[in-house]
Symmetry: C2
Subunit: 464 residues, 2 copies
């Protein structure tokens, strides 16, 4: 049995490891386009910031670890075509050497590539000019080189999503003054603006100069650095002179290999798979950022996340061996650290819930993370979205101080959502309490009570 995985990131490696774990007699080959298999690309901002001193530490596992686990790695090898009938993968190896790899089962995890927004100059300027996109380890080294060579004092970050915000923090931590430009009305547009504004304030507090509702239209090389032009929503023309530009406005699925072989695509052009991660092409599975995501509340969507890639890769690896594992579905749980704040969400926001046929209502409250009498308590801003018709929990968004265990409090909502709990029933959960770390009703229960009080007052009133 020979399982071939295309892609050396989370999905491909997870699939290969799972296959070896289940049957150590399985031969597993991983075809890796670059030279850096199994790197934690989520860690790149912390290498750029200087908090991770050695880039090698960003590897989830070293090459030696992977080989010891029985994965045969073909590095610097780009898969170009799948011959589905012959069960053969065509590839171009180092020095442009063509390669043919026979397989019994193929798992494709080609991931995603960064979106290039329509900014004048972005196509002609590049790393040598201090203009960067950031997705791969190669991009990381190029940015590292620019930081060394240019010694930038100022940088402009296009985009204020997860990576954009982490990079704003990372560059600020390096002592670089950051201007951040975001087209949406508020930073971190994956949260409702009333929570995004808290993250915005945290960035400002740390000296980041933020322009929301503003598009970057052009980048040009000036006498002394880069001249960036933009336009605010009201039409006002803006410009900035900076030493470095970083464009991080999201990703798009990398599907060429599968699409050329006849795979079907869905939302955002991602490859459609079923819950077993089968592509519909015989003996070909796919997982990770290149595929459409099964979402437990939304059905099929596109929601690339590392956690999901690991889970899907594991399922694909098991099924490549003839198993019957199923991806249980995402609920879009995400968390972000920005300086001393943590912002998290799980499930749906109102507009998503409406699109999915629910009748959502939301309530925001700000219970303390622990008893206020014990030093160091902070409110956690929690916005609960529930279904008015059924009382069902639909989503939760949380923003709290780094010390408030917000990153793991969201997991309780995620687990409640996984089980389809009603908002009111969150009060029944037996959660941990000690005054330095919680309250007899945990903050997540107090927020649920606030939702019930606002949206289900009648149902809680007894009829004597």
């Amino acid at each position: 049995m020979h399982v071939v995985c295309v892609g050396g990131s989370d999905a491909g490696i997870s699939a290969g490891l799972r296959a070896r774990e289940l049957d150590p007699s399985t031969e597993v080959t991983v075809v890796v386009a670059g030279a850096y298999p199994n790197f934690s690309i989520c860690g790149i901002p912390y290498y750029i910031s200087g908090e991770v001193g050695d880039w090698h530490h960003l590897a989830h596992r070293t090459r030696a670890d992977l080989e010891a686990a029985g994965l045969h790695l073909l590095l610097d090898t780009r898969a170009t075509r799948i011959d589905v009938d012959a069960r053969q993968l065509e590839a171009i190896g180092p020095d442009d050497t063509p390669a043919l790899v026979d397989y019994d089962a193929l798992v494709v995890g080609t991931g995603a590539r960064p979106v290039r927004p329509p900014i004048t100059g972005l196509d002609t300027l590049g790393a040598a000019d201090g203009v960067h996109l950031l997705h791969s380890m190669g991009d990381t080294f190029a940015l590292g080189d620019s930081l060394e060579k240019l010694q930038p004092r100022t940088a402009l970050v296009v985009g204020a999503g997860y990576i954009g915000l982490e990079m704003a923090e990372g560059l600020t931590t390096r002592g670089i003054h950051v201007t951040q430009v975001e087209a949406a009305p508020e930073v971190l547009s994956t949260l409702d603006p009333e929570l995004g504004t808290l993250v915005h304030a945290e960035l400002v507090r740390h000296g980041v100069d933020i322009h929301t509702g503003t598009s970057v239209t052009g980048i040009a090389k000036g006498a002394d650095g880069l001249h960036v032009t933009g336009q605010a929503r009201d039409g006002e023309a803006l410009s900035w002179d900076v030493d470095l530009v970083l464009v991080v406005v999201g990703v798009t699925p990398e599907t060429d290999l599968l699409v050329r072989s006849g795979a079907q695509t869905g939302p955002r052009g991602a490859v459609l798979v079923d819950e077993t991660m089968a592509t519909g092409l015989p003996h070909v599975w796919a997982a990770g950022d290149c595929v459409a995501t099964h979402h437990r509340l939304l059905g099929t969507t596109y929601l690339p996340l590392g956690t999901t890639s690991h889970k899907q890769g594991r399922v694909a690896g098991e099924n490549a061996l003839g198993g019957n594992a199923r991806f249980a579905g995402s609920i879009g749980t995400q968390v972000l650290k920005v300086f001393d704040l943590v912002a998290a969400r799980t499930g749906l926001r109102e507009h998503e819930a409406i699109a999915a046929g629910f009748d959502p209502a939301s309530t925001t409250s700000a219970p303390d993370d622990h008893k206020a009498y014990y030093p160091g308590s902070h409110p956690i801003t929690i916005r609960i979205t529930g279904d008015r018709a059924t009382g069902r929990l639909l989503g939760a968004q949380l923003v709290g101080h780094l010390t408030t265990e917000t990153a793991k409090r969201v997991d309780t909502y995620a687990t409640a959502l996984f089980h389809g709990m009603d908002v009111a029933d969150i009060n029944d959960l037996d959660l941990a309490y000690t005054p330095p770390l919680g309250s007899p009703w945990d903050a997540i229960q107090i927020a649920a009570q606030a939702w019930v009080t606002q949206h289900q007052p009648a149902s809680t009133r007894t009829q004597p």
Copy 2:
């Protein structure tokens, strides 16, 4: 409608507040034996330590808050008898004034009292001698007085359960050298010894002198302080000369009022109630530390916890008005901070699981709280107990550094337990990840995988 609550702690106050919340026309009287309604007795160690400067801050709500919420408080009033047929509560008020209170519905939350172990001298020595039990605000003030008057340099704490450990920390924080004596083989005997030993080491690291497997047999007043004698399990006689002794070896339910009226009792002598918190006596509900606890895995047991008291009080308050609320049951979720460590548990340990008819097996692992490349990561020791026959999660015990969000990671296990999840299915949960705060597979999932690998290797192997 007049609801009378006996007891000014979590259960009684929660019941009264819930009744008023549901129907603001309800008259609610709370009969409080002491002068300190609605105090957070879990916060006492942090007042003694000096971290809470003003004892008033330990109140969940002030007397004014409670009165503003519509609760009529009868302070310093001890309920002595329930006339069930007449729906009348007899009490002794301030200055020994007898009082009669008519009720339509009665909620009894008389709580628990500290256990007095059979230690020679404990009956004759008291606060004036520097010998203390600790449960109420009165006890707290007495201990505070001793700390002022005696200015102790050394203290001996009898018992190393939750309160004993918190007090060992609190007294150490005040600069007092603490000797701690525990009869069980390891401290924090609510955890398996391999986790208790981590807590033990943390205490030692902070200078606490611990004697496990050792009973205190006597306390006597010496020329210059207190002479405490004890015996180790091997028969060795031990003695200590200290300035202060604190005896905190657990609580026993305070049931006299209900038992005298004919209420039935169960485990540990606690009053039996059904899931509506009804006592079986007409129009009389009971909640909190005085009642036997419905446990979702164990059935009826005794497990006094503040979180449970709040939930049960809320249910009793709703049902006193004619509602049909049900206490969903405890799963024994608990957490404790000891210096820089957090110890938590939920569900069952093996001996409890065996007694409940399961076929338990446990696996301990120590995954990092977050990606090791990001500064500040620590392993969390996680011991998972699952049922060998069904794969069902039965319990989890965790010990981790204060910064590892262990206190809220246990909540995810608690929520999984609430829903009867299998250990293997914990991998399906969509949990939050960012490198500074987690891993693509969260620590709680890695621990679940370790259990599955050890105890269900066959079930995870596919049959191609």
